[in-house]
């Protein structure tokens, strides 16, 4: 049982959700309410990680952020270690790969808010920021919760991208999904089995909690 790997996966999931949710909310809002020319293109780009195979994505990310790239070189000169094959690199990859899982539920939830309700918020004396906080956010909460669950669960299970960009370095980028694979390769089935079980239970708990939260949030618009 590789507790380090489990801890790593949980940290990666948590960090990804915490960083991605606010960024995606802004993007989701822009897509839901903005009326601009390139909207279809942006939506397609956001959905890209859904269609591309993880290893392909991982490969492109490796090329885009490896030490040969401007971003990678800048990071390395700033922090003394390469961006790829590090936890930070995994976070970056995870943020990009989870974009559709975070943006789409939130975008749908926001778009479902009747436009008149948003106008009404402005006509009630709420500034745009207040309107987001007091009206949009509460009404979009089920979508936000879904985005959080999907992102977290997807990150826990992510394999191809993490392996490519992370390199399976024990203690740093060997997440639990890679550790399971590693144990299978080493013909250590008991260890692989127990870790897989822990991963499954964790995912189920995470899903259960957030689904309950989502249901409660939705229930608050009843009588």
């Amino acid at each position: 049982m590789d507790w380090t790997a489990l801890g790593l996966s949980l940290r990666l999931g948590l960090v990804t959700v915490v960083l991605l949710l606010p960024l995606s909310f802004l993007l989701a809002r822009w897509l839901a309410f903005g009326r601009f020319r390139g909207r279809g293109l942006v939506e397609a780009l956001v959905a890209l990680p859904l269609i591309l195979p993880p290893t392909v994505v991982g490969f492109y990310l490796l090329v885009a952020f490896g030490r040969g790239s401007p971003v990678g070189a800048a990071f390395e000169s700033l922090f003394g270690q390469p961006l790829v094959f590090s936890f930070e690199g995994l976070v970056l990859a995870s943020l990009l790969v989870n974009l559709p899982f975070a943006v789409q539920p939130m975008q749908n939830a926001l778009a479902a808010i009747p436009p008149n309700v948003r106008d009404a918020a402005r006509c009630c004396g709420l500034s745009p920021l207040q309107a987001v906080r007091r009206v949009e956010l509460p009404l979009a909460l089920p979508g936000i919760a879904t985005a959080a669950v999907l992102t977290f669960a997807h990150t826990l299970g992510e394999f191809g991208v993490v392996l490519m960009v992370g390199g399976s370095i024990p203690g740093e980028t060997r997440t639990i999904s890679i550790a399971i694979y590693d144990r299978v390769q080493a013909f250590d089935e008991p260890a692989a089995g127990s870790m897989a079980l822990v991963l499954l239970v964790t995912a189920v708990i995470a899903l259960g909690i957030t689904n309950t939260l989502a249901r409660r949030a939705a229930g608050r618009t009843g009588p």
């Binding site: 008149n116 106008d119 009630c124 004396g125 709420l126 500034s127 309107a131 009404l139 618009t221």
Partner: protein, 363 residues
């Protein structure tokens, strides 16, 4: 609170052309009337600051809200307007109290609770303050939306087809409520509607908008009196709408006397007290003309009037006769034959006979 008048001038080219200019006098209820798709709602939204225009000047009580020439556009949350949307647009996740509280950002927190109670009482929703919109009926939602708009202490109240989604019986009571509120709070109200009943019963002023342009504007009484409301004549019969007052009650005869200018009309007894304002509607087809006073009829109202004009009417065998009773205008629909028989021509004195039952009184 003193009411403030609204001056509006809007121009836009796309997606459909709009070019309107009108004024809503302080403390009046001005109806924006016209067929669906004529741009009325767009105008209302532009007044609220929800819609951008190519050129716009909107000012209230002399204070400019929008002036594209000067590059000024106040955002909606900085305009003292209350907006009641057609579908009410209540916040699904908040109780009625919370919705009102949200609108009271301009008031210190300590004052809000009392004010909320007062508003709930005003719209008669005291018992339902802790309900969410999903637990309210259509009429209750409408009153909640109204209360929310009023919670802002607005100078102008904007309503978009407020009675469209409501059944007839509820509509009448909601109309009364709106009139009552307007008088109590001396608000300037702009009301968008495609139902002329709203105009006839509620509005003091009328702006007719057809295909993005103003085709008539003025007081309801004057416009109806001249049968000068475009677009309506086609499907609605000519009728006058008058601002009147309850003059007296004749309890033993179960009649009430309504006065408008020098005109005195008897109608079946109505519930309003003496001195209360009343809206009268008289359809032109209900007005009989006579050259001499009749005897032995069930008729209550025999009015001395003078012919002002005779116009063609919807049918070639009919004529619309414009009459004046002092400052008040009446309309009468007669046959060509009758016109000849009575020799009706401008300047001729004539008696207008109006059945008490034919007078619609809205109080």
């Amino acid at each position: 609170m003193t009411a403030a008048g609204l001056a509006v001038r809007l121009r836009r080219a796309a997606p459909f052309a709009l070019d309107v200019a009108f004024e809503a006098p302080a403390g009046s209820m001005t109806a924006l009337f016209g067929p669906s798709g004529s741009g009325k709602t767009t105008v209302l939204r532009a007044i609220a600051g929800l819609q951008a225009m190519d050129e716009a000047q909107v000012s209230c009580g002399g204070e400019a809200w929008t002036d594209t020439a000067a590059g000024l556009t106040l955002p909606p949350h900085r305009r003292p307007v209350g907006f009641v949307f057609q579908d009410y647009a209540l916040f699904p996740h908040l109780t009625v109290r919370e919705q009102l509280a949200l609108s009271m950002g301009h008031r210190p927190a300590a004052e809000r609770a009392a004010r909320i109670d007062a508003l709930l009482e005003l719209v008669r929703l005291q018992e339902l303050g802790d309900r969410r919109p999903a637990g309210l009926s259509g009429g209750q939602q409408q009153r909640a939306a109204l209360a929310r708009a009023l919670a802002r202490d607005p100078q102008v109240l904007l309503l978009d087809e407020p009675f469209a989604a409501v059944d007839w019986a509820l509509r009448e009571s909601l109309r009364r409520e709106l009139v009552r509120l307007q008088r109590a709070l001396s608000l300037t109200v702009v009301l968008v509607t495609h139902d002329f009943e709203d105009v006839a019963k509620l509005a003091s002023h009328l702006v007719v908008i057809e295909r993005g342009a103003v085709t008539a504007s003025g007081s309801v009484q004057a416009l109806t009196g001249r049968n000068a409301v475009p677009g309506v004549g086609g499907w609605r019969e000519p009728a006058i709408a008058l601002d009147a007052v309850v003059d007296a009650h004749l309890h033993d005869r179960q009649l009430s006397v309504i006065a408008a200018g020098t005109l005195r009309l008897e109608v079946p007894a109505i519930a309003a007290p003496v001195g209360a304002p009343v809206r009268l509607q008289v359809a032109a087809r209900e007005v009989i003309l006579a050259s001499q006073r009749p005897e032995g009829l069930s008729l209550h109202n025999v009015v001395e009037a003078e012919v002002v004009a005779v116009e063609p009417a919807s049918h070639e065998a009919l004529r619309l006769v414009h009459l004046s009773v002092g400052d008040i205008r009446l309309l009468s629909l007669v046959t060509v034959d009758a016109q000849r028989k009575l020799a009706l021509a401008p300047g001729k004195p004539v008696l207008a006979l109006i059945k008490a039952v034919a007078i619609e009184a809205f109080a």
